[in-house]
Every structure is written in structure tokens, then in C-alpha cells.
């Protein structure tokens, strides 16, 4: 336990962290991530890229569900809207990628106003199903708006070239995603520390009390929707670029459930939870595959059609067991470890 760390200026009060070790380790992590694309093989690099893109999306959902407590089952709708906004502006109309990314944020933001407005009076699961309904409606709108979106044909997307720097190679694209992920993380942490963030958390904890304290529920809920959709839209654009093809098919409903799983397994209500949850959920299928490959000789001789399903079953089982033993998620586990580290050999 540290003592004697006095804050003498407002700058120090508001800083994200004042601890030298934390700053040093964070810089080391960023440096490692910057160097990683040159050291990893293409397969591991694809995992890193997916983790970074998913982290951006998860942080977006975290603002809505983790901070403000509004459960959204339809976030994949914003993901696909962002992807299409980027694809249409860049591939169809030939605008520069920066405009594409802005559109990828703004268009879902506007869409979220449409989603958020009816949802203002709704709570809990009713809100969740309404967002689910909207994600299906958005899918239908995209499929019907053929002149703009090519309907079910989809739009093909190239890797972007921003300010003369080409992000065509895998390493460069991973750096782009890394940049977005770091920016999003900082944005999220800043929102959390600001007045807006405090209002969000108040709404989550007890919205009637928040109203009594003078927080304009409607305005802040809509703001949460817009911010969340903006960030998720950018994640969608990155995902579309990664797949090099944007279509409704590539953004199945499963992604919404996965995003929720990431937040809950990571620990609801914290940005760290969103990031840790992303790493776990994205790497889990690979981990189960490695586990099963230990038994590969038996598998080969067994070779039943359904043997592959064991991976998925293991996936579900890991989630259930994890939540059974650590319902506060990975963040809870991290806090336990930290407490253990600080207090050992004492219990508390």
C-alpha cells in the first residue's frame, strides 16, 4: 500500500495514473505490440489483428452496457452499418479513407439516435430485444437499399492508404488497428473520468436517483448510444477492411452475443474488463483446438462427423465454469491476484 503520494496540481489529480511502474509497463506493452507484427507469423498476427479490432468494438459496447447499464443485443447492427458506411464512401464514391472512417463513425451514430429514441423508456430485457429488433431491421434496410449498398452482393474493400502511407501489408494494417485501439482505450478511460462518465454510471446504478440528482436521463442515454455506436462503427469498418469484403453475411448475429460474452466474462463495467475479455474470448477457440489436438491421434481414428463439435462444447463449458467460479469476470480475478500479491503472506 502506497502512502504519502500527495496530489499537488489539478493535472496530477486528473491523470490516468501517477505510478511510475504502471507507466513503464504500459509503454513496454505498447512497444511490444508495435514490434510484434514483425516477429509473429501470419497466423498469430491474424489473431492479434482480430483482438485489436474486437477490442475497439467491445470498448464501444462497454460504454453503453458497462457504463450506462443499457443492454444492447443488437450491436452488430452498428458494426455492419459502420462497415457499409466506410465501404460505400471509399469503394463506391472514391473518397479518402479518413472520410471513410469518419463516416463509419457518424452514420452508425445517427442510426443509434433512431434506435435510442424509442428505447428511452425501456428497461432491461425489453431494451435488449428492441435493440435486437433494430439490428434485424438494419440488416433488412441494407439488403433492400440496392442502389446504395449493392444489396446482397456486398462491396469489396481495399486496404486504405492514408496521407500517403499504405496500410496494405499485414503488419501495417495491424499497426493501424493498434492505433485505433489505443485511441479508443484512451477515449473510453477519459469518458469514464469525466462528468459524462459519472452521469453514465449514475444512470446505471439507479436511474431514478440520477434523475433526482438532476441528470437529464434522455440526453445522457442518447449520448451513450451515439458514442457507443460511433466507436463500434469504426470497429466495423476495420473488420470490413480485414475481410476485404463487406456484406451482411460477414456480420452474423452471433457477433452481438460474442460481444456481450466478452464484456461479461471480462467483467462488466470496466474498460480493462472489455480488453481482457476480448483476449480470452478470441483466443478461446484456438485454446480448445490446441487442447483437442493433444488427443489428435485418438481423434483421427475416431473421426466421427461430430468430433469437431467438441471444440464448441468445450468453449461453452469453459464459459460456464469460468462464470461459476469467478462471476465478477477476469477483472475480478485480476483484482484477486493483485490483492494476493500486495498482501501476501497476510490475508488482508
Amino acid at each position: 500500500m502506497r502512502s504519502g503520494d500527495f496530489k499537488e496540481t489539478y493535472g496530477e489529480l486528473v491523470a490516468l495514473t501517477d505510478s511510475r511502474p504502471v507507466q513503464a509497463w504500459s509503454l513496454a506493452l505498447v512497444a511490444a505490440l508495435v514490434v510484434a507484427p514483425y516477429l509473429l507469423n501470419s497466423y498469430a498476427l491474424s489473431f492479434l489483428t482480430i483482438i485489436l479490432i474486437t477490442a475497439v468494438g467491445a470498448l464501444g459496447l462497454n460504454i453503453l452496457t458497462g457504463y450506462t447499464g443499457l443492454i444492447s443485443l443488437g450491436h452488430v447492427g452498428f458494426l455492419v452499418t459502420g462497415a457499409y458506411a466506410y465501404a460505400v464512401t471509399v469503394s463506391k464514391y472514391g473518397m479518402p479513407p479518413v472520410v471513410g472512417f469518419l463516416a463509419a463513425g457518424i452514420v452508425p451514430g445517427l442510426a443509434s439516435l433512431v434506435v435510442g429514441a424509442p428505447s428511452l423508456r425501456l428497461k432491461g430485457l425489453y431494451l435488449a430485444i428492441t435493440t435486437l429488433a433494430f439490428s434485424f431491421i438494419i440488416n433488412s434496410v441494407i439488403l433492400e437499399a440496392r442502389p446504395l449498398t449493392n444489396g446482397a452482393r456486398g462491396i469489396s474493400v481495399q486496404r486504405p492508404e492514408i496521407f500517403g502511407v499504405s496500410f496494405d501489408s499485414d503488419a501495417a494494417f495491424t499497426h493501424l488497428c493498434l492505433g485505433f485501439a489505443i485511441a479508443t482505450l484512451f477515449a473510453t478511460l477519459n469518458i469514464r473520468r469525466s462528468r459524462v462518465g459519472r452521469a453514465f454510471v449514475a444512470i446505471r446504478d439507479n436511474d431514478t436517483a440520477a434523475r433526482v440528482m438532476g441528470i437529464n436521463l434522455h440526453a445522457y442515454k442518447l449520448f451513450a448510444f451515439v458514442t457507443s455506436a460511433f466507436i463500434t462503427g469504426i470497429a466495423g469498418a476495420l473488420y470490413g477492411i480485414y475481410l476485404s469484403f463487406v456484406s451482411v453475411e460477414g456480420f452474423p448475429f452471433l457477433l452481438s452475443i460474442e460481444a456481450l460474452a466478452i464484456l461479461i466474462v471480462g467483467g462488466l463495467g470496466s474498460a480493462l474488463g472489455a480488453v481482457l475479455g476480448t483476449i480470452l474470448i478470441v483466443l478461446l477457440p484456438e485454446a480448445t483446438r490446441l487442447l483437442l489436438s493433444l488427443f489428435s491421434s485418438q481423434m483421427d481414428s475416431l473421426f466421427s462427423t461430430g468430433a469437431q463439435e467438441l471444440k464448441s462444447m468445450l468453449y461453452g463449458l469453459v464459459i460456464i465454469l469460468f462464470l461459476r467460479f469467478q462471476p465478477r469476470g477476469l477483472v475480478g480475478a485480476w483484482h484477486d491476484i493483485r490483492r494476493l500479491w500486495v498482501n501476501w503472506p497476510l490475508r488482508y
Binding site: 480485414y242 453475411e249 471444440k311
Partner: protein, 386 residues
């Protein structure tokens, strides 16, 4: 210290060199093995397509291995599951190419997935033969290392619609397609013949993927008075449509497309499915070629796997045979360049399950011959029509 280090590294290098790792120019070949990779959906509902295709590859590989392998090397099959999710197809393809380091690829999951994975395959330059979902994007423009065995969806539909138009002149037409890229190819093929033959289309419906209840759509079809109907669903959708038509008491002439041309579909449709037409480029299982193929499979696959066989097994088998033959023609030390060259030189290779396969300089598409079949409920099979 340095002495020890030098000795140790020399020993290690020696061990590595002598471990049988052939210092081949291209990956995937050792002194005793050739690796062939594939990515298919093995879990979830699309598994009946992916598993069947992988079975076809396995049959061809087992057949080749039983005959001594390719010039003395046994073939090892590296299969990954993508669960029909595009991002996973890309990841698994990268894994197979960079981590498992295979010599050649087969497959490649559904149409959307194979389109998405093209950049990865092109960049790697690995010889690839695609057999599961032949769509125009895969060979137009032709890519140096990617070969497609089969026939395009548009061509297939055009063949079927032309046949039905010839046999049913002057009748009213109805069409139902899925609202995704598969449905679009069906619609494109259909529209091409509608324009050419000036067909009278009275009903044109579009359903979202996953729809299971077609009562209102078939009612609209009945109201429109259509007499010939092209059912563009896959499996469950076609079954539901046929049963609705049976319930409504109308029996138009019906055509279905090959992704749903599997025998369990006939069982599900019941008598309502008797006499429906289908188009395909592989032999029907009820014919002599199909029966011979099943006999061959019985000897090479365990009993439990036999029930997973459907038309995709035949397409997989053919593609694998073509690939194995091409690698074989490259002699003792096959390379990627040689394999691609030999694939290009493929002329009239007999596979026993479809018309002979040929490619050519700049031609990466085998343009298989199509045949029309008709379903026979009493035998639960598709019989060729002539």
C-alpha cells in the same frame, strides 16, 4: 565456453539437416509425405456440405495412398474447421499455409468464404483446386494458382431454366430466391433466360436467410397462378415450400438447384417432391457411375462416415484426383511452379463422377457439363432425364 557453443550449434545443425527434412524449395514436402490442406465448415448446419466435401478428398487421398502415394510419398490431409464464419476461414487458411506449411490446397468452404480467402491464396501462390462453391469471382479474372472444378451457379440455373422452358412453353413462371450472394447468382441466371426467351414471370419472391415458414409466400405463388416454379432455397426452405404447395393443393412444375440436391431432401418432401427437376454436373447416385463411386467409398471409409456422403463428396473427390494427378506428373521433386504448370495442362482427366476435367493456359475453370435429373420418390433418388 565459445568452443562448447560452436560444437553445440554444429551438432544441432547436423541433427536438423539429417532429420529427414528435405530442403525442398517449396513447403509441404518431406521425404515421405506430401501435405494437402483444406478449410471446410465442419460444425453447425453447413457441416453437411463441408463434411461431405472433406470425405470426397479423403476418399481420393486414401485411394492414392493405397496405390503407393504420389511417387512414393504418402499424402497427409490437413483439415481445419471454419464453422462457416468468414473471418475464421481467412485465419485457418493462413494457419494452414504459414504454420502447417502445406503443399497444396483444396476446398474452400462456401462461396462467400472462398471469395474472402482469395487474397490470402493469391499472395501465397499455393496451388489450389476449389470444388465446393464455384462462383464466377473465383476464375474471373483467372488467378495463376487457383483452379476451379465445377460449373458456375449462373450457368447451372440457365441450363435448368432453358430445359424447363423448352418442356413447358408458354406457361407462367414463379421464382423464389434467398436474399444473399447465392440467391443473387440464381436470380441472375434466371433473368438471363427470362430475357432471352421472353418468359412470363408472374411471381418473384425473396426470402431472408433463416426463414422457415413459407405459408404466405406460397399462397402468393398460388394466387399469381404460376405453373412453373424455380425454388431457389437450399434444403429446409425447399422442403417447406414443397410441403406448403402440397397443403395448398397445387402442383406446378418445380425445379431446384444443386446445393439442395441431396437425397434426405426427397425423404423430407415426401410424395410432394416426386417429379421435381434438378440440375447438376456430378453423376446421380442412382446411376452406374454413382453406384461404382459408393462401392469405392465403402472400401476406403469407415462405416459411420458413409452416411455423410452426398453430391459434395463427388465434387471433392474429383478435385482431389485432379490435384493428385497433377502433382504426380511432376515426378520425384514436385514444386509449386511445376504443379501449377501441370494443373494447367490437365486435359480430359477421368474422375468417374463427372465429365472429364480440363484446364488450359489462362483457363482456371473446368466448365463441367451439366445434366438434368428428376426426383423419384419411390426410390428416394434422382434419375437422369433424357
Amino acid at each position: 565456453m565459445i568452443k562448447y557453443l560452436a560444437t553445440a550449434s554444429l551438432l544441432l545443425a547436423g541433427a536438423y539437416l539429417s532429420s529427414g527434412q528435405a530442403i525442398a524449395a517449396d513447403p509441404g514436402i518431406t521425404d515421405s509425405e506430401i501435405l494437402i490442406g483444406d478449410v471446410e465448415p465442419l460444425t453447425g448446419p453447413p457441416a453437411l456440405l463441408g463434411v461431405a466435401a472433406s470425405l470426397g478428398h479423403k476418399i481420393a487421398i486414401a485411394e492414392a495412398n493405397a496405390a503407393g502415394g504420389i511417387n512414393g510419398r504418402k499424402i497427409k490431409y490437413v483439415l481445419e474447421d471454419d464453422g462457416y464464419v468468414t473471418a475464421r476461414t481467412i485465419q485457418d487458411a493462413r494457419k494452414i499455409i504459414d504454420v502447417d506449411k502445406v503443399f497444396a490446397m483444396l476446398g474452400m468452404s462456401g462461396s462467400g468464404q472462398s471469395i474472402a480467402v482469395m487474397p490470402v491464396l493469391e499472395k501465397a501462390g499455393i496451388p489450389t483446386v476449389i470444388d465446393v462453391a464455384p462462383v464466377k469471382f473465383l476464375w474471373e479474372p483467372p488467378r495463376k494458382n487457383v483452379f476451379v472444378v465445377g460449373q458456375s451457379y449462373e450457368e447451372g440455373i440457365m441450363h435448368l431454366v432453358t430445359y424447363l422452358a423448352d418442356k413447358n412453353p408458354g406457361k407462367k413462371w414463379g421464382l423464389m430466391t434467398q436474399d444473399d450472394d447465392y440467391g443473387i447468382t440464381v436470380r441472375d441466371g434466371f433473368d438471363a433466360i427470362v430475357k432471352a426467351r421472353k418468359l412470363n414471370v408472374v411471381y418473384s419472391g425473396n426470402y431472408k436467410k433463416g426463414q422457415q415458414d413459407f405459408s404466405s409466400d406460397m399462397l402468393q405463388l398460388k394466387e399469381s397462378g404460376a405453373e412453373v416454379f424455380l425454388a431457389g432455397g437450399i434444403i429446409g426452405e425447399n422442403v417447406a415450400m414443397m410441403k406448403e404447395l402440397e397443403k395448398l393443393g397445387i402442383k406446378p412444375v418445380v425445379g431446384i438447384f444443386w446445393p439442395g440436391r441431396i437425397e434426405p431432401v426427397l425423404k423430407l418432401m415426401g410424395p410432394a417432391g416426386d417429379g421435381i427437376f434438378a440440375v447438376d454436373y456430378v453423376e446421380p447416385f442412382a446411376g452406374p457411375a454413382g453406384k461404382a463411386f459408393l462401392e469405392k467409398a465403402k472400401g476406403l471409409l469407415p462405416e459411420t462416415e458413409m452416411r455423410g456422403i452426398n453430391r459434395y463428396t463427388m465434387t471433392g473427390y474429383a478435385a482431389a484426383k485432379v490435384l493428385i494427378a497433377a502433382i504426380g506428373r511432376c515426378g520425384k521433386e514436385p514444386t509449386w511452379a511445376c504443379t501449377i504448370g501441370e494443373l494447367e495442362k490437365t486435359r480430359n482427366v477421368e474422375t468417374g463422377v463427372m465429365a472429364p476435367v480440363s484446364f488450359g493456359p489462362g483457363v482456371r475453370f473446368s466448365n463441367q457439363k451439366l445434366q438434368i435429373m428428376q426426383a423419384e420418390f419411390s426410390t428416394l433418388s434422382f434419375k437422369p432425364v433424357n
